[in-house]
C-alpha cells in the first residue's frame, strides 16, 4: 500500500481522460478515464463488448475516430497518427496477435523499429521465449498459437517502448503456456515496463496486475487495487457476471 500511495503522488505515465471512440457511426467509448503509474501493471476488465479492446486501439491511435485526452508523461497524443504515438513509446500486442504470414519468425521479431533507446536485446528476448530461437526461419504463422503469442509480445520488447498494451495475451492458450506468459509479464514489470492488460481470464489478471479498472458500456465504472481484491470480490463478480 505504501508503494501505491507513493505512486499516486507522482504524475502518471499514462493518463486517459474522457476518451470517446467510434466505429463508423457506432459510438463505442463514452468517456473512458484511467491512469497508469510508471512500472505498474493495470488491467481493463469487463464483459465482452464493453470497450476494452477499443480503448487500447484508441490509445494507440488505430481507432480512426476518437476524442478526449491520452497523455503519455504529460504529452498529449489524442490527435497524432499511430506511427507518431508508437514513436512516443507505446507498443501494442493486438488481440489477433498480428503475426505476418509473409514474414519469417525472425523478420516478424525484427519488424517493429527501435523507437527509443533501452529496448531489450534480441538475446534477452530469446531468453524470455526460448521457443522462438529454434523457429527463426519458419513462416510466422506456422508457429503454434502460444509461440505466436510469444512472438507478438517479444517483438515489441525490442523497440524501447516503455508502455505495453497487451490485448488478451492468454486467449485460447493451454494452461502451461498461460503460466509462462504470466511469469514473463511479471518479469517485464521487474525490468521496468509499464503494462495495460486487457484480459478475460480473471484469475490470470489477478495473478499479475497491481490494479483493475472495470469497463462497462464504454466507461470505466470502478477501480479495485489487487491488494483489496478479496474484500471486493463479490462486487467484481457482479460486474463481470461470473
Amino acid at each position: 500500500m505504501a508503494e501505491a500511495a507513493r505512486a499516486a503522488q507522482t504524475a502518471p505515465l499514462l493518463a486517459v481522460r474522457d476518451l470517446e471512440g467510434w466505429y463508423g457511426e457506432s459510438h463505442v467509448l463514452h468517456g473512458i478515464d484511467f491512469e497508469v503509474q510508471e512500472g505498474e501493471i493495470v488491467t481493463l476488465l469487463g464483459r465482452n463488448g464493453a470497450g476494452k479492446t477499443t480503448t487500447l486501439k484508441a490509445i494507440m491511435g488505430i481507432l480512426p475516430r476518437r476524442s478526449g485526452s491520452v497523455q503519455l508523461s504529460g504529452r498529449e497524443l489524442i490527435a497524432l497518427p499511430s506511427r507518431t504515438i508508437a514513436r512516443a513509446g507505446i507498443a501494442i500486442c493486438p488481440e489477433e496477435r498480428g503475426i505476418f504470414s509473409s514474414l519469417s519468425v525472425e523478420e516478424n521479431l525484427m519488424l517493429p523499429p527501435r523507437v527509443l533507446p533501452g529496448g531489450l536485446s534480441v538475446e534477452r528476448i530469446y531468453e524470455l521465449f526460448p521457443n522462438l530461437r529454434e523457429r527463426l526461419s519458419s513462416q510466422g504463422t506456422k508457429l503454434s498459437g502460444g509461440e505466436q503469442q510469444m512472438l507478438a509480445i517479444g517483438r515489441i520488447l525490442r523497440t524501447g517502448a516503455k508502455l505495453l498494451l497487451l490485448d488478451e495475451p492468454t486467449e485460447g492458450l493451454a494452461p502451461v503456456i498461460v503460466q509462462q506468459i504470466g511469469r514473463t509479464i511479471s518479469q517485464l514489470k521487474r525490468e521496468g515496463f509499464t503494462i495495460v492488460l486487457v484480459e478475460q481470464n480473471f484469475r490470470f489478471a489477478t495473478s499479475v496486475a497491481d490494479r483493475h479498472y472495470v469497463v462497462e458500456t464504454g466507461k470505466v465504472i470502478d477501480m479495485i487495487p489487487n491488494a483489496d481484491l478479496d474484500a471486493n470480490i463479490d462486487r467484481l463478480h457482479s460486474y463481470l457476471g461470473v
Partner: protein
C-alpha cells in the same frame, strides 16, 4: 545442321530468343504491377503508358539534351517514377478506402490522357532510337545469330527482376513492405510511416516500367501506343501468375514469353492467342493464379 521436328534450328532458337525478350518485358512490367497491387490495392492501368513514357524520356534526353542510352537508363526511371509519386500523392492516395474499381478507372483514364498527349505531340509513326555502339553487332553462336543488344536486354531484365525480388524478400525495407501489404494498420502502429512506404512503392513500380521502356526503345520504335499494345498481354500474365506474387510474376513473365515464342514456331496461327488461352485455363483450374495465395 540438325533439324528438330522439321524446324530449322535457326528458326527455333530465333523464336526462343524473341520469346525470351518479350518475356523480359512481361516479367518487368507484371512485377511492377504485382508490387503496386500488393501494397496499394490499385490495378495500375497506367503501367503501359508509364513504360511508354520511359522510352520517350530516353528519346527526349537523347534528342534535346544529347544524353545517351546509359544516362537514359538511370534518368528516365527516376523522372517517370517521380511523376508516379506526384500521381500517387495527388490522386491515388484518395482512393485507397474505395473499391479496386476506382483505382482502375482513374489509372485507365490517366493512361488515355498520357497516350493522347504523346500522340498529339509526336504522332503515331514512331521514332527511331539507336542502341549504344558498344551493344551493336552480335555473336554467331553457330546454331543462331545473337544480337548483343538483345542479350543485354535479357540480362538487364533478369538483374532488375531478381534485384527487386531480393529487395522485397530479403531486406528490412522489403519486410516492411510485405508486412504493410498484409496489415498496414499494425505496421503503422509500430511506428513505420506507411503512407510514405506506399508512395515510394508506387514510384518504384512506375520507375521499373520506365526502365523497361528504355530497354525497349532500341528494339521497338518509340511510339505512343507501345505500352497500350503490351499492357493487355501483361495483365494476362499477371492473372496467370497470381496478383501480388513477386516470384510468380517473374517466372510467369519469362515462361509465357518463351511459350509464346515456341507457339510461333510450331503453330504460328496460335501465337497471338496462346497467352489468353492459358489465362482462361488457369482461371478455370486455379482462379487465384499459379503462384497466388488462395483467396
Amino acid at each position: 545442321m540438325f533439324e528438330l521436328l522439321g524446324i530449322p534450328p535457326q528458326a527455333l532458337f530465333g523464336q526462343l530468343l524473341l520469346g525470351l525478350i518479350n518475356g523480359s518485358f512481361y516479367a518487368m512490367l507484371s512485377l511492377g504491377l504485382a508490387v503496386i497491387f500488393g501494397l496499394l490495392n490499385i490495378i495500375n492501368f497506367a503501367h503501359g503508358a508509364q513504360y511508354m513514357m520511359g522510352a520517350f524520356v530516353a528519346w527526349m534526353l537523347g534528342n534535346y539534351l544529347g544524353l545517351g542510352y546509359w544516362w537514359a537508363l538511370v534518368i528516365a526511371p527516376v523522372v517517370v517514377g517521380a511523376s508516379g509519386i506526384v500521381i500517387e500523392r495527388l490522386m491515388l492516395s484518395r482512393l485507397y478506402h474505395l473499391d479496386h474499381l476506382y483505382g482502375l478507372l482513374l489509372t485507365f483514364g490517366l493512361a488515355l490522357i498520357i497516350q493522347g498527349l504523346f500522340r498529339n505531340a509526336y504522332g503515331v509513326s514512331g521514332m527511331p532510337y539507336t542502341a549504344p555502339p558498344v551493344l551493336a553487332g552480335g555473336q554467331n553462336l553457330g546454331f543462331m545469330f545473337l544480337p548483343n543488344y538483345r542479350a543485354w536486354v535479357v540480362v538487364a531484365s533478369l538483374v532488375a527482376c531478381f534485384g527487386t525480388w531480393f529487395l522485397i524478400e530479403k531486406t528490412r525495407l522489403g519486410a516492411y513492405l510485405r508486412a504493410a501489404t498484409e496489415n498496414p494498420t499494425l505496421v503503422g502502429a509500430f511506428g513505420i510511416n506507411v503512407p510514405r512506404l506506399i508512395t515510394l512503392t508506387y514510384g518504384f513500380g512506375v520507375g521499373l516500367a520506365a526502365f523497361a521502356g528504355v530497354l525497349a526503345a532500341p528494339i521497338y520504335s518509340v511510339n505512343p501506343n507501345m505500352g497500350a499494345d503490351l499492357i493487355i498481354v501483361v495483365f494476362a500474365v499477371v492473372v496467370i501468375g497470381g496478383m501480388g506474387s513477386i516470384m510468380g510474376a517473374i517466372v510467369t513473365g519469362f515462361g509465357l514469353g518463351i511459350i509464346e515464342g515456341l507457339t510461333r514456331v510450331f503453330y504460328p496461327e496460335g501465337s497471338a492467342v496462346v497467352i489468353f488461352v492459358i489465362m482462361a485455363l488457369v482461371l478455370l483450374v486455379k482462379p487465384q493464379g499459379l503462384f497466388g495465395r488462395p483467396v
